[in-house]
Symmetry: C2
Subunit: 347 residues, 2 copies
Amino acid sequence: EIIPQENYFSREMLDRLSGKRTDKTWLEAKHSDPDTVYLMFSKLSPMVSAPQEDNGARGETRLCRFRYEAVKDLLQKPATVLIFLGVERRKNPSSSSSSQNNGGTWEPPAWFAVGTDEDAVELLKRCREKNCCFPKSPNRDLLKLNEEEAGVVAQARSVLCWHSRYSFCPTCGSSTGLEEAGYKRSCLNSECRSLQGVHNTCYPRVDPVVIMLVVHPDGNQCLLGRKKIFPTGMFSCLAGFVEPGESVEEAVRREVEEESGVKVGPVQYVSCQPWPMPSSLMMGCLAIAVSTDISVDESEIEEARWFSREQVIDSMFKGARPAFSVPPRQTIAHQLIRHWIGINANL
Amino acid sequence: EIIPQENYFSREMLDRLSGKRTDKTWLEAKHSDPDTVYLMFSKLSPMVSAPQEDNGARGETRLCRFRYEAVKDLLQKPATVLIFLGVERRKNPSSSSSSQNNGGTWEPPAWFAVGTDEDAVELLKRCREKNCCFPKSPNRDLLKLNEEEAGVVAQARSVLCWHSRYSFCPTCGSSTGLEEAGYKRSCLNSECRSLQGVHNTCYPRVDPVVIMLVVHPDGNQCLLGRKKIFPTGMFSCLAGFVEPGESVEEAVRREVEEESGVKVGPVQYVSCQPWPMPSSLMMGCLAIAVSTDISVDESEIEEARWFSREQVIDSMFKGARPAFSVPPRQTIAHQLIRHWIGINANL
Ligand SMILES: Nc1ncnc2c1ncn2[C@@H]1O[C@H](COP(=O)(O)O)[C@@H](O)[C@H]1O
Ligand SMILES: Nc1ncnc2c1ncn2[C@@H]1O[C@H](COP(=O)(O)O)[C@@H](O)[C@H]1O
Ligand SMILES: [Mg+2]
Ligand SMILES: [Mg+2]
Ligand SMILES: [Mg+2]
Ligand SMILES: [Mg+2]
Ligand SMILES: [Mg+2]
Ligand SMILES: [Mg+2]
Ligand SMILES: [Zn+2]
Ligand SMILES: [Zn+2]
């Protein structure tokens, strides 16, 4: 039985065309192509046009899209980071699209992300849309996009975060240079051993994380915890980084025991979510507890509790007086909890 | 339905006790504890006692274990990397174990990995066992351990590989210092922004990889490919690195299409395997093809082919003239193929 799962940040509206990353001629033609779409990032935040406050619930946050002419000067600046994101998956030109490349053969528009350090106020003036901004709280503000744009932002922001913190070679400490349309940084020291063979030091980092809903041995309660930084009353799934030499299932058992003292037996993968703050891959699992006493690791978790199925349903579907709240639907924590209340109590 | 899966390299015979990594007093006491076990690594290769050639199939490759007295001098050298691996999971002293710590309360032995640059020939003289060596081909030689030692090596080697290539701060290029018993490196430049907040630059890297058995739409053939470097006649599952901002399922679809031209629909996670060369986490999946024409990416794959269920069974269970060979049982590729021939043709 195969259930297609799709979480926020995981939709791929672009075909990454990784083979084109080394094709300089093709990339250069796309840079100045009038159909090419540029997204602009300042301090790892994308420029968006926020819904008008006075319009109430109307409208969603949308990415500001730029054409070549509007970003041309930025692309010349040495501090600018340019990432090739891919081409739109649609096979046919839409009626609004005008240009025909290569004497008639239509190609879907290419997308690039531009990361720049230029003054944010000046950058915002480049956009003709109203209410533009670079949102300040990625954890909250990047959850307001539609599914397609969320997927593009996940890719772009993860790669930009990597460039912002990995500009020196970890093997020798020298500077590195951007290559392969933003997906590689090579050491500029020609003696460096990172240049011999293929090494992960040159490629963007993705951190696997486990996030799990722990189910009580009775099948009718689940374990949720809260960190001090959570909004009042909010509880979520436990989570933690997969360590070197560890499987996903063992990481689930170790993190649950570390954070709550609860021992876990069987673990089942449910779905995953890229989380671009900065570049995690959240592996969502159901975990069956084989003990029930809770003893929290106070350095990480403020409180952990067993919640009954009824309490959880009440909280998710806004009962009159929910005992607690869960994270929003865009999070895999929310989706794991929903998944659990949707399946039979006895796994 | 939850199937416990265990792949080679994923058994955890040690409790990592991550909370102890910052407890200097406890760690120091364990260093000189006579029960403590040290493993020795030279150039990322563990010292092992290989089975005697003249003894035929008898015996397996085993890790050489050292006591404090035998490595004491190495621990003083500044170039030595010392990693705390954890403590044995057993709750009671075995009859052979003599020491009782803290006036009577027995504690399970702690394990450490020692990474050193000292002359390998001299290091080998420290071991009293016969036929010791530092194997040269990790991809082959590290597959000869028992399940428990394989799990320990997966952890130790991944962390040591990270230290060997990440000794400079990627954010500012300065030197870093080892902390938290080997699980953290902090920048020694007090002005560095990597010291403000928590950042992945300080923690060991784990690279998520997808590895997938692609099943033909007819359910009775699977897609296997070979790289130029494979032994003659060997075919395996396709695989590739998960990219930033990508889900496991999308990475499967992208890599299969890139490498073979075959389009994939549903993807199902099966099990995973830590692969410590240097530090991958192989996410094993079954993928259902929705197209069948093959067009290989010659830069990566030499040949890819659909193999029938009969051909695969023949190859795995050594038919008279198998058309091809698959990787050994210690690989997740082997286990995915086995999994497929064990399940019903119609998923
Ligand atoms: N790749 C990483 N990025 C950030 N923090 C990490 C990473 N790996 C380990 N950590 C540590 O893990 C802590 C969070 O705990 P957890 O998410 O439960 O594993 C952080 O405060 C760091 O000390
Ligand atoms: N973390 C990484 N470590 C090593 N190679 C990588 C990594 N990320 C991307 N690559 C590239 O991916 C190629 C292997 O292709 P694949 O395994 O199919 O993704 C390597 O030759 C590198 O060019
Ligand atoms: Mg955690
Ligand atoms: Mg934790
Ligand atoms: Mg952790
Ligand atoms: Mg590959
Ligand atoms: Mg590939
Ligand atoms: Mg790849
Ligand atoms: Zn270098
Ligand atoms: Zn630094």
